[in-house]
Amino acid sequence: MNAEHSALKQIPLQFGKFQQIEFETFLTETKTELLELIRKIASGEETQHLYLWGATATGKSHLLQAACKLAGQAQRQVAYIPLEQIHEFKPEMLHDLGMLNLVCVDSLECVSESIEWQQTLVWLYNELRDNGHSMIIAGNASSANIDLSIEDLRSRLNWGLVFQLDIPSDEQKIVILKQLAKKSGFEFPDEVAQYLIQRVERDLHSLVKILNRIDEYSLAEKRKITVPLVRKMLESSL
């Protein structure tokens, strides 16, 4: 099973052990209203269609997957559709998903070249709406700017509620990294976080990958996570 199983792991975003996503990990001070709304949608207290947009590493996928997990815990049927993998999928995978309580569609920008996918998404949107079920779509640009050829899909993005996700500030990123580290069973000191954020790619995806490496490196070296240790690790990877 293991060999067979590992062959299936072809997901582009590998955050290692930090991929175990919890809703609380999505940290933001400014979007508490959105988090509350998603909680309600996931639990079935509220029915809505949302469009979330923002640049890479603003937490869109994270939020969608956390919503799926919450919905699953509430015994609701849900599906996460990662459109960045459409080369492996067919639009038929969306057929009849309108019967699910919630469908989360990620990376809408990836269907800009496909009218068939866009049209199938319009059908799915209608189906979910008609059935009184919810949908959360995420994309990398506002509804006005996202590259879509079917205007019916674009106008549907404005039909529900629209939220822009901002890039977290450096302070927020540090808090997220510390939370992830804590969840994984180790401490990530402030000074190390500060040191890291000034020296590597500052987007959250890159930071989480490095955090993963730091954890492995400290275990291998059998040393505590300190600035000198991280410096040594970064130098050794140059």
Partner: protein, 443 residues
Amino acid sequence: MEQLEGELTPQEFNTWIRPLHAIEAEQAIRLLAPNRFVLDWINERYLTRIEELLNALDDTGEINLQLEIGSKSTNQPEATKIESRSTPVVKPMPSTITAKTVKYSNNLNRSFTFESFVEGKSNQLARAASIQVAENPGNAYNPLFIYGGVGLGKTHLMHAVGTAIYKQKPGANIAYLHSERFVADMVRALQHNAINEFKRHYRSLDALLIDDIQFFAGKERSQEEFFHTFNALLEGQHQIVLTCDRYPKEVNGLEERLKSRFGWGLTVSIEPPELETRVAIIKKKAILAQKVIPDDVSFFIAKRFRSNVRELEGALNRVIANANLTGNPVTLEFTQSALRDLLIIQDKQVTIENIQKTTAEYYKIRLADLLSKRRSRSVARPRQIAMAISKEFTNHSLPEIGDAFGGRDHTTVLHACRKVTELRNTEHRVEEDYNNLVKTLTS
């Protein structure tokens, strides 16, 4: 489930396992997949492991696992079924799908009725014609051709016609479908040697309702088949209703003989709703949402959101959602605050001139350079960002934006917008600059 969740990535689990629904029976578990694609995916990749996990829980090792297409709500599996025993004995999927598996349904949305359609000057004629057609299918206007922009109610009227015909004549053979679905059905029928059944089905309908026929453009084989279907239905005095985003003669890539036939019945347009209709729509939607919306708020939203009904409803949805979340009453002040970012665009507070000036100041370059022909990176990048912001935050067209930036072509603006979208995703600096500029412009 917990064990499997631990073994798969959250993405895999959320995509493939969570949509499944399990039903326990005596010594058997029925696993319902929402469609064939998911069923095949599960069958090929996860079924063996699911069986292993199930049998580990059961001492007898005799749990019978059945993978079927179906859902929690229907709990009615379709014909396709994969059954297995404790030692994985998975029956293969049928390699060929017979004509029996090509199913057709009417797809009518019963909530789209004439009663739930808000009438106004902009849609009066289209509504009246649709009612005529519904009362006298095949004889009043055939075909009925409704055209207009997105979100104005074309599809709503079309469903209303179908639903009304069905009410008068239960059992009537009616089909509502998008033109792309017609094309997909035809391709599927060709693949499965079921084209005769496809022809028989569509040519025997009492009413055929096809949405967005502009998507037939350039699909010659589908146009050919649709042409014959169209003729057969018209000959038999069966009703055809079509919608399109433009006047039939203006659809490029559509055969002339089809364009001319589309004009045989009645062609009516739907325009964006006027103020009174927009207010009426808000009031109707508010009642449906069981929310009290004061008149001044209805008028405020209706005045600010003009282009289509979806945009209008989106604004109302946001006000209601904010009110529900915060527990505040819906007042004019509350509404203005809840819609603040949308209103910035509506109000056109952000002008191209202001964007250019702010961008030049932000990057510490001269305004004249921003508008000049200079193409050095230090000027070109800020110019592209200013163009992208102009596209997003003003209602100016691409040629107008190009003109305002030193007489550039609209394709240059389009390129700038795409480039900036790409850079915002890949370069942190660009994303920060963009957001800082937007904050400065809109605060």
